[in-house]
């Protein structure tokens, strides 16, 4: 008899180590995950508390401080007017406070990224489950649609669809509300992003479906609901979580990119992409202006990405060792 074959000798009062609890423990032991997770939580907290921060800071995102600009519209003081009152200085030209605009920019960025990630993941999971399980011609048809969606050039479609959509609802001189800008961005991301999630889930479903525990359920007479809900879905949580957490930084970067190109979030809504775009005109005269939004965007995308990687390692420790 092998040692451990009969654990009857020992008592079974130890709490069970569910796969989820094991992953949680691995995540907590991972320093990268702790640091990047901490940064993520801090950024999200700042975004959520933006109005509170505004109250304490005493300056709003649209307030202009023309008096603190010189005759050429440049902020007076070191590093673009950094002072006790304006922690990260002022924007050249309009004289708005950079710190509070970054706080609200964080909000814009995270709202778009989370909304896009939630929508694409939800649609992708639904489609992936259906195609992976129904199989046959459903799989063929939706597979072709997925390939089609993945083949479309994202940037070109985004550059044409977003302005057209905006024109359809608002005249050329109307002010487009920020909510509509967010909506059209999320829509564009969803149209392209769902296919990636769907393909991932479909692959997972196909591989899990052929596992013998699904056969065992079928032999016992389990229906489609039991097999999908109780046998397959719990095994999908890990890959879905990972794809969600890696989609977030991608959408943060993509949102900033589209806004930088002028088709995402528009002035006066605070936004990283807009700020970086405006700052390019002052690269020589006020380099600090590009530094703050650029640095924050960089740190945010890096932290979210590294956390996603750490999460994947925690959920699937075998993936770390490379292909077996």
């Amino acid at each position: 008899m092998k040692p451990g074959e009969h654990p009857r000798a020992r008592t079974g009062t130890r709490p069970s180590r569910s796969p989820g609890r094991l992953a949680w423990r691995r995540l907590r032991a991972d320093r990268t995950a702790l640091i990047t997770g901490g940064i993520m939580v801090a950024l999200i907290a700042v975004a959520l508390a933006a109005p509170l921060i505004e109250m304490l800071y005493g300056i709003g995102p649209s307030e202009q401080f023309q008096a603190e600009l010189d005759d050429f519209g440049m902020p007076i003081g070191p590093a673009g007017g950094v002072s006790g009152q304006h922690w990260l200085g002022l924007e050249p030209g309009l004289g708005r406070d950079i710190f509070i605009r970054l706080v609200y920019g964080l909000r814009t960025s995270l709202v778009v990224a989370f909304a896009a990630a939630v929508v694409t993941t939800a649609v992708g999971v639904l489609v992936g489950l259906l195609t992976g399980f129904l199989g046959r011609w459903t799989d063929g048809v939706i597979g072709a649609v997925i390939d089609f969606a993945l083949a479309m050039p994202f940037l070109i479609v985004a550059l044409t669809v977003v302005p057209t959509l905006t024109q359809r609802f608002y005249g050329p001189r109307d002010a487009v509300p920020a909510s509509f800008q967010v909506f059209s961005l999320v829509l564009v991301f969803a149209v392209f992003g769902w296919a990636i999630a769907a393909r991932l889930v479909r692959g997972q479903v196909l591989s899990i479906r052929s596992r013998e525990f699904v056969d065992a359920a079928r032999v016992s007479g389990a229906g489609l609901g039991h097999i999908l809900g109780r046998e397959i879905a719990p095994n999908l949580i890990a890959p879905i979580l990972v794809s969600f957490s890696l989609a977030l930084p991608a959408y943060i970067a993509a949102e900033a990119g589209l806004s930088f190109l002028g088709i995402g979030i528009l002035e006066p809504t605070p936004d990283f992409g807009r700020m970086i775009d405006r700052s390019l005109g002052y690269l020589q005269t006020d380099p600090a202006y590009v530094l703050f939004p650029g640095l924050l965007l960089f740190v945010m995308v890096l932290a979210f990405n590294m956390f996603g990687d750490a999460l994947r390692d925690a959920l699937d420790p075998r993936a770390e060792a490379g292909p077996r």
Partner: protein, 267 residues
């Protein structure tokens, strides 16, 4: 002999492939009496597993019939089949692949009762504990997950699940070939005691003659989709007629376990 528990007649399974068909199972017949066990041996790829899958209807037969408790289950409609289903169960080869890693052992074992709406007296949880004890596991471990058990213990969990629906027949597809030799013997002993105590019949599918010999009353030797020889255990092991059977017996390393040697010397 009274009517057999299971009677398989002219079972055929052809898989269409490019440029023709693969005749995985090509006209196979056998019977299993209640409380008795039949072993099907053969090399890998000979169609053994396809038979196992057809017996539990994971694969539909191309032709032939499978009569279980007097009813042809290849023809049963969905609703009728549901009532038969828990009484024919399967134990798989891979003890880790056949257990859902995200479910506790208690839920895995209770699954057949759950999907069939079986409510045993005393409740499902009590029944799960009984089943775990029956297969030699600690009943207190029903809250644990499959990865916390060894290979042999996982196979015991798979057997407990198969027993949950009170089966009359268990199809065991290579139940021990993924296990260490020392653990193999324990699992075979467990199957044997279940057969003795519960009167469960087994269709044991294996490439390992030694395994089949320990459990089965009758043995069928399969080669390329057909039975080349079938008979009582004593006849197959003591007096094989077909040359393929002889080759198979000769291939057992070292002439097989000691008992084989004495019998061969005797014959």
């Amino acid at each position: 002999m009274t009517e057999p528990l299971l009677s398989v007649r002219d079972l055929v399974k052809h898989f269409p492939v490019k440029g023709g068909t693969v005749r995985a199972v090509d006209g196979v017949s056998f019977e299993v009496a209640a409380g008795h066990s039949v072993g099907i041996v053969g090399e890998s790829g000979c169609g053994k597993t396809t038979i196992a899958r057809m017996l539990v209807r994971l694969t539909d037969a191309s032709a032939g019939c499978i009569v279980f408790e007097g009813r042809d289950i290849t023809q049963l409609g969905r609703r009728r089949w549901r009532s038969v289903r828990p009484r024919i169960q399967i134990v798989f080869q891979d003890p880790s692949g056949s257990l859902n890693p995200r479910q506790t052992v208690g839920r895995i074992v209770a699954m057949p009762m759950r999907v069939n709406g079986i409510r045993p007296p005393g409740g499902r949880q009590a029944r799960v504990r009984d089943l775990l004890a029956m297969v030699g596991l600690n009943p207190d471990h029903d809250e644990r997950y499959p990865h916390e058990f060894s290979g042999g213990q996982r196979q015991r969990i798979g057997i407990a699940r198969a027993l949950a629906g009170d089966p009359r027949l268990i199809v065991a597809d290579e139940p021990v070939s993924a296990l260490d030799v020392s653990v193999q013997a324990q699992i075979i002993n467990l199957l044997r005691s279940l057969q003795r105590d519960l009167g469960v019949s087994f269709v044991l599918i294996s490439h390992d003659l030694a395994v089949v010999r320990q459990l089965c009353h009758r043995v069928a030797v399969m080669h390329r989709g057909v039975f080349v020889e079938a008979g009582d255990r004593a006849q197959i092991f003591g007096d094989p007629h077909h040359p393929y059977t002889r080759r198979l017996l000769a291939a057992v390393p070292g002439g097989g376990p000691p008992r084989t040697r004495t019998q061969e010397q005797g014959s």
